[in-house]
Amino acid sequence: MEGIYMDAAATTPARPEVIEAVRKMLGQDFGNPSSLHAPGVNAEKEIKKARRRVAESIGAGPGQVIFTSGGTEANNLAIRSLIRPGGHCISTPIEHPSVQETFRFLARQDCVVDYCRVDREGNIDIQHLEQILHPASCFLSLALVNNEIGTVQDLEEIVRVARKKAPRILIHTDAVQAWGKLQLDWDRMGVDALTISAHKTGGPKGAGALVVCRPELIKPLLWGGEQEEGLRSGTENTPGIVGMGVAATLLPEEKKIRAMTRIKQEFFQQIREGITGVELIGPSPEKSVPHILNLSFPGLPAQVLVQALSREGIYASSGSACSSHRHQISYVLQALGLEKEVASSAIRFSFLDDISSSQAAVAADKVIQVVNQMKKVMRNV
């Protein structure tokens, strides 16, 4: 691909080792893990290895990993398993659609869902959380990292507060944008379920996992051949799962993650110097997740800017990839309380973990050039 890809929060290219593993599982090691013969046994072994690798990447046990078709399925599975019918649930207004829409669906059934307020930077308001929690609250779901603005929640504190107020509450976190960008420690997080997805960090699309504290709490969404201990029926996606396992062994090290944060800060600095009126959305770059930077260029419609940048070989996004087709102002940005003018001009830059300083500098130059050119044109509008 020509150009500089700055949409890693949407998806990433699979790493060469992952491609090799996927190829092998599609061809040579094509067996069905449920089969009794040698190819089946071999495939089962490979899945077992992948399960161990994924579990290790966050410090959980292999028996706690349920492979799914991706983040959306894992989020659905977690929420629909862990709520209690008619129970009181808590979430936030800035969740991914796969969480938000599931809650909306459940609220139309018989659940009561309260949404905890967030501040302008996307941090959840712990005082408000305390207010809406009550002793019988049964379920809390929130993303560890917001996919549009990169806010990292103080999960340990949130878990502590929630459990204090509601001792029997079950807690799920969507860690899709955190896996491979933050050190995840299953025991320290202390949640009951956690979602990850392979393709956001060098793995294949169509593979994800729900990691659960107690698998017996999970109620399957799909019924059939009882794969994944009966929790996720359907022939295992062996190429996807094994590819995810390989990706789990190749997550960037801390040094690389620190470099990403530095590069992101430089990128932001360069743009701020080159463009007047640019606004940072979300937390300051050293506080947000290393790969996400959301900037607004008031006066320029975000989708036009994305298209103009694309013509210059800079691939960024307006809103999240899932919702940017709809051309509405992102509900996440609205929930932050941003002015319409700022929200409708917001662009998310999200960095691949192997981006270099010089690439980022070239990209920043292009952004400056495109934005300033477009400002001249749009001055009148």
Binding site: Q307, S310, R311, V377, R379, N380, V381
Partner: protein, 388 residues
Amino acid sequence: MSDLILLRYGELGLKGHNRSFFIKKLRQNINRILQGEGNLTQAHGRLFFHPAQSPDRAIARLQQVFGLVGVAPAREVELDWEEISGAAEEMVGKKDLPEKTTFKVETKRANKSFYLNSMEISRNLGAHLLQKFPQLQVDVHQPQLKVQVEIRKKAFIYLNDYPGPGGLPVGTGGRGILLVSGGIDSPVAGWMMLKRGIDVIPLHFSSPPYTNERSLEKVKDLVGVLQGWGLKYPLYNINFTPIQEELIQKVPGDFLTILMRRMMIRLGNMVAARERGKCLITGESLGQVASQTIESLHSTGVLANSPVLKPLIGLDKQDIIKMAQDIGTYDISIQPHEDCCQVFVPSHPVTRPRLKDIEEIEKGLDLEEKLKKAVADLEKISIEVDSS
């Protein structure tokens, strides 16, 4: 025995010595629209289509060929009573007949050597069908089902027509430039003019990055639908961006849309001159939006070097939507991608612009070179029609 499709054409018959020209065009169009679907033959002053595969599929496509008023499934069999009655029985059997169906048999005997005369054939075949299909009842005046038999060197049997789209064969009315967007109206306008025989060239203005790549895909899909109705040109795409950017910078916002439309008419003139087009076609409908008031239409119309055909001018939006649904463009048109006008729609566009004011504003612009370059760089995008 073979399955064929009898094609009937309507208005063509009225066109005197132009008739052979019209039929030639009609045959060309059928061959193009149904490429690879079978063969076309002419016999006894009739057109027959011999489908290579399922006649149903061919019939559906033939119903999109302008100039045809009827398409009837037919059978060609040997001059033999058993064959004739057997074929008629099978064809009627395939129809999903309601509880009570009135019918009649009509026979023409051009070949007098056949041993039954036309009255006898009609009577015998009628009796045969009545016996086989208890739901049939004879009604010689207004039958729901008409079984027609023609005795020539072979025997031909037809059932009722499926209606054709009518109109005139595309290409009999000269060439026209359709200003097409991704909206609902302009594809319908193009369809209406194709129907009157105009050879339509679709011309689109795109303005990346103000428009989405996907909005061009949408226009391509719309043109693909019109190709199924006989349009034969690729999509002509003009990059409108440089012109639009200059207008945005120099023109008061409330005049932007009307000035953009005037530029489009100028470009339409230039393309028409280059392609020997004899008219421009637009999807305007009176009063629908600010740029379609009579004053606005006047301010664009005065620039045109040839007639501007506006077939939707007197239609309500609901009528246009209904047509778009029937044509097959509606579902594509309503996909949410803006065209080049929409990003900059002023909140209060002028609705009754005075030509004098517009011309005054245009004096401050120098777009001659940009217009020429836009036409010189025009891109012709051929469209792959998914024929499944």
